[in-house]
């Protein structure tokens, strides 16, 4: 697990040290540096002038993993970024083996088809429990595009009805893709997910965060994947634990990014949480924790 990143001169992250948890949630305004922060964990990231703060000099990124401090370009963890595209995850795929979702989820059908029957069943069972209007998910050849296939979704109440991806809600499609992460044939060590809350009902969002936390803490089996989420969502924070959240914002003085933690050690922390009836999202939106824009 990556426990810390030490970042110098990388894009807006001029000088930032960030501690990571098994599940870390980055929250902050648009353009605050969340995506850049995620990029610092990519072993293939370019550190030349194009990624340097104000395009001057070069960037330096080191990560601490299992107690060892390593330049990011020498790190050996497998990293995956998901910024799922609600249109592309519906596309039919040219049939081929796919062992990991690509960034936008365009190959969702192929990854699903590559799973073992057992993994497919486990995924479908989890999915239909959370989205109970469906009974099953399967792949079928695409009638218009020979050599292609697409996902289909079976109606819970009328088993003869199978829905096309275009007939399934954005949230259902996104949920299937996010739940699939745990089952990918080619697992990763670190996965970063941008805006996982998109299209999801708050109840489902809570379940998704629970699942991702379980995955990150190794509660789902032998595969443990460190999870990093980037969000603007106060609703998502309602399901976060305070120590999991990092508040990301730009400094008013020079535009560089700062990353703060909730002051859980402060004598006033418990009192403040009580005042907000336990709502971390509300406390964040008040501006008392950082990671909010002006306006």
């Amino acid at each position: 697990m990556i426990s810390r990143a030490i970042i110098r001169n990388f894009r807006c992250l001029a000088s930032v040290d960030v501690d990571f948890e098994p599940l870390t949630i980055l929250v902050g305004p648009n353009a605050s540096g969340k995506s850049s922060l995620i990029s610092t964990l990519r072993p293939d990231i370019a550190l030349d002038g194009t990624n340097a703060w104000r395009n001057k000099g070069s960037a330096v990124i080191e990560v601490i993993s299992e107690g060892r401090r390593t330049p990011i370009r020498s790190a050996s963890h497998a990293f995956q970024l998901l910024h799922l595209d609600v249109e592309k995850i519906r596309y039919p795929n040219v049939v081929q083996e796919a062992r990991r979702l690509d960034e936008t989820g365009t190959n969702l059908t192929n990854v699903f088809a590559t799973l073992t029957r057992e993994e497919q069943n486990a995924l479908v069972a989890h999915f239909t429990k959370l989205v109970p209007m469906y009974r099953d998910v399967a792949t079928r050849p695409s009638p218009q595009n020979p050599g292609n296939h697409r996902l289909v979704f079976q109606d819970r109440w009328s088993p003869e009805l199978w829905y096309e991806p275009t007939q399934v809600s954005d949230g259902s499609m996104l949920m299937l893709a996010l739940l699939l992460v745990e089952h990918q044939p080619q697992p990763v060590d670190v996965i970063a997910i941008e805006e996982p809350e998109r299209g999801l009902h708050p109840y489902l969002l809570g379940k998704l965060i629970e699942s991702l936390r379980d995955l990150a803490l190794g509660r789902l089996g032998p595969k443990t994947i460190q999870v990093i989420l980037a969000t603007h969502s106060a609703e998502l924070l309602e399901f976060a634990l305070p120590h999991e959240v990092r508040f990301v914002s730009r400094r008013e003085s020079d535009g560089t990014t700062q990353v703060e933690r909730a002051p859980t050690e402060s004598a006033d922390w418990a009192k403040s949480v009580r005042e907000y009836e336990g709502s971390l999202g509300g406390l964040w939106l008040s501006g008392a924790l950082g990671g909010v824009p002006g306006g």
């Binding site: 922390w269 009192k271 005042e275 907000y276 939106l285 008392a288």
Partner: protein, 241 residues
Amino acid sequence: MKDRWAGFGFLVRLAAFPADSRQVSVRVVVYAEGPADSVGEQSWLPPPGEALEESHLGPAHHLVRRAIAHGTGVPQNAVRFLSPLRLRTGRHPRGSDLLVERSLRRLLTWPGPERRPDLAVVFVDDDGTSGRKQLLESYIEEGISVRVVVAVPAPEFEGWLIADHGAVAKVLEPIPAQPPAIEALQPGQAKQFLAEWISQSRNAVPSEVRSSLANLSSLSVLDGLGAFQAFRRDLLRALTG
């Protein structure tokens, strides 16, 4: 300089200024009824907890700054205003939010010392009610870590802005007639007087007029108003307590 302010207890905080010398600053957050009281020519505020610039300051800030400086000897430029907290929805608080116990308490809740100001001042108009100040103070009697001053102008904040006719005469042209005793006005009357005078005045920009009045009004004249006197007394007590 530090020794001179040693009596001001908690209030004296060392802060690193851009220059290499270290000076004293007092960090203050102001909540007021509406933007006309608490917002200057620039209404886009920085994130909560960040420093406000001079162009952000409204008449309420100017009066607080002058009252602190006059009462304690802290230089006016050492009084630094911070962008206030918002409601739990992210919305800027309105005057009516300040009257709701839960909202008021949350607006005065900072979970960590780094973002917490030294002082918060809450302005809520009296509006002809009785006991509003005591009621609001009872809301925050316990469990609030920041020092708070609740100021309740009677009948409303604009009464303070028009109370010193000398200042009014310097800012507005033609010079309006002196209104009767401010605290005897009906709710809304002071607001109406000021709005009429501004509309009749040549080239008057409302936000500039209000800020000028807050800056030019004599504090001794304003002390003739019971609510202002109470505000100054409470402010001094909060700063030196």
